[in-house]
Symmetry: C4
């Protein structure tokens, strides 16, 4: 029998976690490169500088939103990886596709920040979030099917992870739909959903989902 490269490749969850932490760390920090300092020649007083920074405010808000997105998906991916006993080449490639989506986030963010009132920019931004959720969902389903998860994982917990992705994606899709009114409604709604997931307040009606 021929030994098959595919049977021995990509088995380390630790290396996958390390690569993921690296890609997330770079993506999170690169976002800020889009916050350019005002040109020195245009600033002649404290007031000029203040006005220039106020003009940066929408950009900072979009940046915060993207940091929240990346944070949410980092926690989501981490929670998955913590429950894998090992990996295989397919799971590794599903997560590499996920990281491709993560690495596109600074571009989607920059587009959104530059064209904040354009529906197309909003829909591409949402598509990026959707792709991240869809791949994470696929990764979890695949890991369950070929039994890469730790044996002590209860079916209930496995279902909680799937439910979380579906509810969140439904809310993001609803947010994206609000661009029929205008993009600010969409951004505001998505930001509220994200803050809710980051803060997870006790009185949260979604916390049981």
């Amino acid at each position: 029998m021929h030994a098959n490269y595919n049977h021995i490749a990509g088995q380390s969850v630790e290396r996958l976690a390390a690569l993921s932490d690296g890609v997330f760390a770079v993506a999170m920090t690169l976002l800020v490169l889009d916050l350019r300092t005002p040109a020195e020649t245009a600033i002649h007083s404290e007031r000029d500088l203040w006005n220039a920074i106020v003009l940066l405010a929408p950009r900072i808000l979009v940046y915060l939103m993207s940091f929240l997105t990346l944070g949410i998906f980092w926690v989501g991916q981490q929670t998955q990886l913590n429950h894998f006993s090992h990996s295989d080449r397919h799971l590794t490639w599903i997560h590499l596709a996920f990281l491709f989506g993560v690495s596109l986030m600074p571009f989607s963010t920059s587009l959104m920040a530059s064209f904040i009132s354009y529906r197309l920019a909003l829909l591409l931004y949402w598509a990026n979030i959707f792709v991240l959720g869809a791949i994470l969902f696929a990764a979890w389903r695949y890991a369950l099917r070929v039994q890469l998860v730790k044996p002590e994982l209860s079916a209930e917990f496995a279902a909680a992870i799937e439910r979380r992705i579906i509810v969140a994606q439904a809310l993001y899709a609803l947010g994206a739909l609000l661009c029929l009114i205008n993009t600010y409604w969409s951004l505001g709604f998505i930001l509220l959903v994200q803050i809710n997931y980051a803060l997870a307040p006790r009185i949260n009606p979604l916390s049981r989902l």
Copy 2:
């Protein structure tokens, strides 16, 4: 009973440490991108090059200051994480907020370096330092309250960590106040405080704090 995603998410201190090291590493190295080499067309002799580099000096000083800031907060965060037995989703998100502050540091630094004599730039720079300290303080308080710290940690050591943050922040705030005179006094004072924390000399009157 419903299994709750929030009870199983974000429990790995190791992954949090790895992400943090990544964000700090990128932020520390991105700072230097602001040090642009002089335009080749403007340099015609060794003396021209020397003058161009001398002009970069204030920028290099601000850069050094920001590296010190990041170093101090990296040591501070590391010391905390070393004493956590595990994490939960709230602690993870508090530290993600901390990393958001870290990722803003290259922007604050660039602003400070470009507008070194502007009070607004100095106050925003100080605000960034303040936010980092405040979040780290909140993280520690939260970890103590819900008992995420290792059981062998003495109350005395727990108090030492809090005291350190408070004293440091008081000194930074004093430094920021000095911008009432001018921003160079502020920068000089903050730099001295930072060098003191980095070197921690034996004869340091603050070393008992």
Copy 3:
């Protein structure tokens, strides 16, 4: 006898893996910096924005291709490192040369994306892939020769790793040759080979190789 620095340097496989994950993570994420958002002044309608993004499409395709390349070589290097029991200074330096090739990938990609119809850009891009494969092959041969691999590794598996590199490189070389027709044939063929390696479908005639 003199103690020799070279006998005690570079022995940690873990540090080598950590540095590699960092370099891959940065390279994967830097690729996207080349996707510049359209100039705000040139966009006056949703249609303008759509057209501007359509113009980015070839660049996004080349970017996807480079991400696949980096993913394939990351899996390949990981598979090797997983089978090393320890390292020595020579193996460390062979892998540093490999990382040098990885760090050049954003440049090769940018060149390919800017000059997509130029044979020279295609050949340099292929040369980058070839160098990565050749160094990985050399690293494996060296590790086998001086017995740095784990003792339980079968000769059959060792051969599978070599065979994989040779077959893949033969296909990439064939793809590069197709630039005699034109560069789009080359890019299409290389992309198909990469997708095949990423997906590794069951009915794949290459999967036995």
Copy 4:
């Protein structure tokens, strides 16, 4: 007695190694950002592209040299960290100073590549290498003095590490002195020294040092 923050801060060698790998990985990959693709408007034929890339050659050489420098110091630092049983705040700060030097390397490299015939650029480049070596030497001396190294480390090996740094720095200083003739002699000599350390050939007269 007051618990002292300085006694509990910065004790993790693992976190220091992780931060260092991150800073090295980013610095190694950022170097390449200086290799800009030629402007598309200036290229009208394969020959134009070839000429533009040939013009990049000195820049690629300086880049390779800096990658070698970073590789040599990464191996050097790794070798030290592998022999530490634990760290303390002083050792951590000495290594943070080392990482500051590492993060300056992309700037020194860019300066050297832009002003390849200027002695000042060469001397600043050499100063960066010198600072890295001096800090690494200080870190090792400090770790030996306060007994942070693993107890099984022989005095002979400890001396080998010091000797290596001194010999290498003497050679780099000699290389820098050659700029009295011209900077190309300096660069050529330093590059040869680096290649010698990377390859470490058996017949190397320095290999006993």
